[in-house]
């Protein structure tokens, strides 16, 4: 038998608990988001020191980074590497995902494990190995060596994202095309690929950011003139806490924010597409 008093108590207690949890969650959001917010605000500061809140606003730091040839050069290097690594990883990864999801493959389990391995093995260990291999090949210090290193680490992401997309599209659509006379290649290109184009785009965003933000491979593989943006920032930060980096950081934050919004939009679209397919 439950008295009315304890019922009232039970009804009240959860509310108190939820509020405490909610307060904690708000504190966590502040902890997670404040660093980026502070850097962004400080990038518009008119002060020569990193004081918060800023005494006034200006675009001084942005002008300073745009007139630094080393920094603008590194932006170009990072962009070229990320675009090339993305294209390579998306092509190779999509072919792999097709093989793993659309066909029965002997050794598929082992293959899946090998493809996941670059995600698990610490990048610093991979970088130590590639450093020596590219040194012997005479490629250390080239943009190509960093592109290859970044392609390897982007592959697991592409395979995972595209495989998920492929598993969401029923095989029956492709089979229907084949029954109607299309060969395997046509069915894949005309039916399957258009259906998973959002997943492929999402995997490209992921691969791009994996390369764009990567540091340790570039640290081991880059040479004079091929320093990527994260590497250049690290080199500047080793000397002192350079306030100009607030402007570069804000630039990076904006790019990453655009990437995550685009990625979320694409994944929402794929989930939408699934339900359309199911309804049909």
């Amino acid at each position: 038998m439950v008295s009315t008093g304890s019922v009232a108590l039970m009804a009240r207690r959860p509310r108190w608990r939820v509020n405490l949890l909610a307060l904690f969650a708000i504190a966590m959001f502040v902890f997670l988001l404040a660093p980026s917010a502070i850097v962004t605000i400080l990038s518009f500061s008119s002060s020569r020191h990193l004081e918060f809140p800023p005494p006034g606003f200006s675009l001084e730091w942005y002008q300073k980074i745009m007139s630094d040839a080393n920094l603008t050069h590194s932006m170009g290097v990072s962009l070229r590497i990320a675009v090339a690594a993305t294209v390579l990883a998306v092509i190779i990864g999509t072919l792999t995902a097709l093989a793993l999801t659309r066909y029965t493959l002997r050794g598929g389990t082992v293959l899946r494990l090998i493809i996941l391995a670059p995600f698990i093995v610490p990048y610093v260990v991979q970088a130590v190995g590639l450093f020596r291999v590219f040194l012997v090949l005479g490629l250390r210090g080239t943009v190509l060596s960093i592109i290859i290193g970044h392609t390897v680490i982007a592959i697991p992401y592409v395979v995972l994202v595209v495989s998920a997309g492929l598993l969401a599209v029923p095989k029956s659509l492709e089979e229907a095309a084949r029954v109607l006379g299309a060969n395997g290649f046509t069915a894949t290109v005309r039916i399957t690929l258009p259906l998973i184009k959002a997943s492929i785009a999402a995997s490209a965003v992921f691969a791009f950011i994996a390369s764009w933000d990567e540091f340790i491979m570039a640290f081991f593989l880059a040479g004079a003139g091929t320093e990527t943006l994260p590497l250049r920032m690290f080199m500047l930060l080793r000397d002192f806490i350079d306030p100009r980096l607030t402007a570069i950081s804000t630039f990076l934050i904006v790019i990453n924010l655009a990437a995550v919004l685009f990625f979320s939009w694409l994944t929402m679209r794929t989930r939408g597409a699934e339900s359309v397919v199911e309804e049909e």
């Binding site: 988001l33 660093p35 072919l95 610093v124 260990v125 130590v128 392609t151």
Partner: protein, 299 residues
């Protein structure tokens, strides 16, 4: 008769086609196999081989196999201290991240709102922000004349030394690795059927008892996935320890980098192998109890 012949012909044609078709998946994986073999497995193989090589004066090495590099890493107090520090740092980061992420993920998973997508975006966004940017942000916040010390100064407190020591390194690492803990935990808790909890409550279990006996055990795979990710990423982390921890807080990846710069490649290779061994042992255990494929679920 002719009908049978046509039939046989059709069957053999189908068989030839089937044989050809059976080769397609192998052709599709040729590029990835070449890439992984040449630029992942082969380099790792060379690191393993060179870890047994002998270093000769002047910075080169010769193919005289030795265990000296491993012995050096595992017996000299300085290197043992670095290995121990790295493992302790990863363990502490994992525990703090778990303690912070669990109630947070639980709250998010049970939150009933139509703005959930937006809220999750706020969690995923730091995950997508470059590590160099987040480390730099913490340098600004925690520095000796940083924002935190500014605020403390207003209350007549401080200044505290928060960078170039273990505290700064931990704060930065926890911040950077939290999303790796939150995302699998959130997925795991959100996946628990709430009617199980309701059933326990109906059968007379209290809130706490329901949590401990129903929710918590069911969320353990998510917690294990998050812990595994945070631990293996932390022991391989270079950037944040180097910038926020500084020279007094050397960890294995910093030692590896330093040894490569000092042209002692065999020793750097042996240290890399030790790091790899730790990661492989943990991955093996994780695969046995949870399943490695879960690691793929965090995008």
């Amino acid at each position: 008769m002719s009908q049978a012949a046509t039939h046989i012909e059709a069957v053999s044609k189908a068989r030839a086609q089937w044989r050809w078709r059976a080769l397609i998946p192998y052709a599709l994986v040729v590029p990835v196999l070449v890439l992984i073999a040449v630029f992942f497995l082969y380099p790792l193989g060379t690191v393993m081989l060179y870890s047994f090589y002998t270093r000769v004066a002047g910075g080169s090495m010769e193919a005289v196999l030795t265990l000296e590099n491993y012995a050096r890493a595992l017996t000299r107090p300085l290197y043992l201290k670095i290995i121990f520090r790295t493992l302790r740092l990863a363990a502490v980061t994992t525990v703090i991240a778990l303690l912070l992420a669990y109630p947070f993920s639980y709250y998010l998973a049970r939150l009933k709102t139509d703005k959930k997508g937006l809220i999750l975006l706020a969690v995923i966004f730091p995950f997508w922000t470059a590590i160099i940017v987040r480390t730099y942000a913490w340098l600004i916040i925690l520095g000796s004349k940083g924002i935190l010390n500014n605020i403390l100064g207003l209350f007549g407190l401080g200044p505290l030394t928060l960078i170039y020591n273990e505290t700064g390194m931990l704060i930065g690492l926890v911040h950077i690795l939290l999303p790796y803990m939150i995302l699998p935990l959130y997925a795991s808790i959100a996946g628990i059927n709430e009617s199980l909890e309701e059933a326990a409550r109906t059968l007379g279990a209290g809130r706490l008892s329901t949590f401990w006996r129903i929710t918590f055990p069911l969320s353990l795979p998510g917690a294990a996935t998050g812990a595994m990710l945070v631990f293996i990423i932390t022991i391989g982390a270079y950037l944040t320890p180097a910038l926020l921890g500084g020279p007094s807080q050397i960890v294995i990846p910093m030692l590896i980098t330093e040894q490569v710069a000092l042209l002692n490649y065999p020793f750097a290779a042996a240290l890399s192998m030790l790091l790899l061994l730790i990661v492989l042992v943990l991955s093996g255990l994780f695969d046995r109890f949870i399943g490695l494929e879960r690691l793929g679920g965090i995008y």
